[in-house]
Point group: C2
DNA sequence: ACCTGAACACCGTTCAAGT
DNA sequence: ACCTGAACACCGTTCAAGT
């Protein structure tokens, strides 16, 4: 019987599991990624994962949380120096690699509270950030919330569907027209 | 050993399978619905389903096709007599019952060609229908396509996320402002 | 406290065999 | 042509037993 690997630092092993999970989730999607495969890549047994995470959804939620925190802090930095237009386009670009997971987030949110919570927090973070920008640019206050929601739904839609580059540009252009503070003048 | 039930009409049995599948899919979602459970409700063995459908995704696609054809023909009738606003609100309402499946459609489209095809056809049908309406109401031609896409992404977004009634109304209101032909005058 | 091997109850799908 | 019982290779998860 292989030894316990208590030599390895505890939180380090947890991080290895998360890293393996993230890599395989991103490459092959949630469903095709088995706990066994994650465990092998992390150098542990499948059941060891259950010592650190209470289930596959909770592991997925932990992976999401890391990805999202990187993304949100990058966006929050950018939002001070770049325009809304540049940030929207940047969001579309930098999310591309996580495309298969975006659909999964919605699917698992209906099943797992852990995933649903992470999903909600994400929407709140991004939408409050964009709302702040619109507010400072003199956008009519009453319209900010619904318009931000429209923008985030469109971004999600663009990531979830196969859309040609040309069409994508047209959609972003129209979306930006809606988001322009000039419309209130 | 139970007899073959070749007494039952062939296409009738196929329909029974589709009906059982639809009911359980709608009630419990794709993942929680096993082939075995569908087969029991339809009064056949699990493997019999594989005589009529090449897999779970193909059965799901067939179920979707039926649901969509009912929906599209209803929408196409309505679009002649009702306003765009009324039809948008009607779409939101009448889709509510299929909420769990909308997310699944996107998830399985990434995996199954059969589901992807049905999904694409659906978007094309709805968007060409709405495009026709906008065209007749004198909407600037170049903006029709992207704006229609925005509308359909927002409808999907509203169906995929938990949104309060009040917020939903605000979003629809802002969306309609974008879709109003008056903006071109 | 941490980790294992073995088992559990499922799953979608396949296949040889029946009618 | 149509349908079955039995099996296959998996899956996420649990648990008694080890260190």
């Amino acid at each position: 019987m292989p030894k316990n690997r208590q030599d390895l630092d505890n939180s380090l092993k947890k991080q290895m599991i998360k890293d393996s999970a993230r890599n395989i989730f991103l490459a092959d999607g949630y469903e095709k990624t088995s706990i066994t495969r994650i465990s092998k890549q992390a150098g542990v047994t499948a059941n060891t994962i259950y010592w650190y995470f209470s289930g596959k959804d909770e592991l997925f939620a932990a992976v999401l949380e890391e990805l999202i925190s990187v993304f949100v802090s990058a966006l929050s930095q950018r939002s001070e120096t770049y325009s809304l237009e540049e940030n929207l386009l940047w969001m579309l670009e930098s999310f591309q690699f996580a495309k298969p997971l975006i659909i999964t987030v919605h699917e698992r949110s209906a099943i797992s509270d852990a995933v649903a919570t992470v999903h909600n927090n994400f929407h709140n973070s991004v939408e409050s950030l964009l709302g702040k920008v619109l507010n400072e640019s003199g956008f009519e206050a009453a319209r900010i919330k619904p318009v931000i929601r429209i923008a985030s739904f469109v971004v999600e839609g663009l990531l979830m569907h196969e859309v040609s580059i040309k069409e994508k540009q047209e959609i972003v252009k129209q979306l930006l027209a809606i988001l322009s503070p000039l419309r209130d003048k």
